[in-house]
């Protein structure tokens, strides 16, 4: 399945990309997606604890199953205002 991955701020800089499409095995979870990203970009590991994952606009935990066509957003700690 394909999911669209949006990343912001520090995470975007570490990934060198704000937007990508990732091909994952069927049944993959949010944690599997993060692991796949880490394999391609080991420095991302440092941000694992602080980054929240949103699936289609809602923050989810690692065991959340993903579906083809999902929009996943990687959200580091916020700094608005």
């Amino acid at each position: 399945m394909n999911v669209r991955v949006l990343s912001f701020a520090r995470v975007r800089e570490v990934l060198s990309s704000g937007q990508m499409t990732l091909d994952l095995a069927d049944g993959a979870t949010a944690a599997d997606l993060w692991s796949a990203l880490e394999r391609g970009c080991p420095p991302l590991r440092e941000l694992a604890a602080s980054t929240r994952i949103a699936r289609n606009g809602r923050v989810v935990d690692g065991c959340e199953p993903l579906r083809d066509g999902d929009e996943i957003a990687l959200l580091p700690p916020v700094g608005g205002g």
């Binding site: 701020a9 520090r10 957003a73 700690p77 916020v78 700094g79 205002g81």
Partner: protein, 141 residues
């Protein structure tokens, strides 16, 4: 009710007018401005903001809804600017209006505090030497 992420300078007076009503006697406006020094005293030349806009607007809507429930009938308007801002420019404005000042002050305070904790918006401090650093919100700042 205006809840927006904008790329152009924020017109604070226009935002205040968004919450006006003939039966409201109190209007509070909070304005967050880019300052020239960070918390460690380092000179800052500006801030670069970015947002995940759909979730940021959803967060503004949730916050405004909570405020209306807590302070019955209060009107709120929120604008946050993104992009590159210079020292002295307005990054965020919150306007709250109610029948009396207590509710207007309280709702305005609630909205900016919650926005800083919850809205998916990020800022990078830019320094004179060209370097920069992502700045996370600490509690109460």
């Amino acid at each position: 009710m205006r809840l927006a992420i904008v790329r152009e300078p924020i017109d604070v007076e226009r935002l205040r007018r968004e919450v006006e009503r003939d039966d409201f006697g109190g209007v509070t406006v909070f304005v967050g401005v880019v300052r020239c020094r960070d918390d460690d005293g380092r000179s800052v030349t500006g801030l670069s903001y970015e947002a995940f806009e759909p979730m940021a607007i959803a967060a503004f809507e949730a916050i405004a809804g909570e405020a209306r429930e807590r302070w019955s009938g209060v009107a709120l308007a929120i604008e946050h600017r993104i992009g590159d801002l210079s020292v002295g420019e307005v990054a965020v404005a919150v306007a709250a209006a109610a029948v009396h000042r207590e509710a207007a002050f309280a709702a305005c305070r609630y909205a900016i505090d919650q926005l800083k904790q919850r809205a998916p918006i990020w800022k990078k401090e830019r320094y004179a030497d060209g370097s920069g650093r992502w700045k996370e919100n600490a509690c109460g700042r």
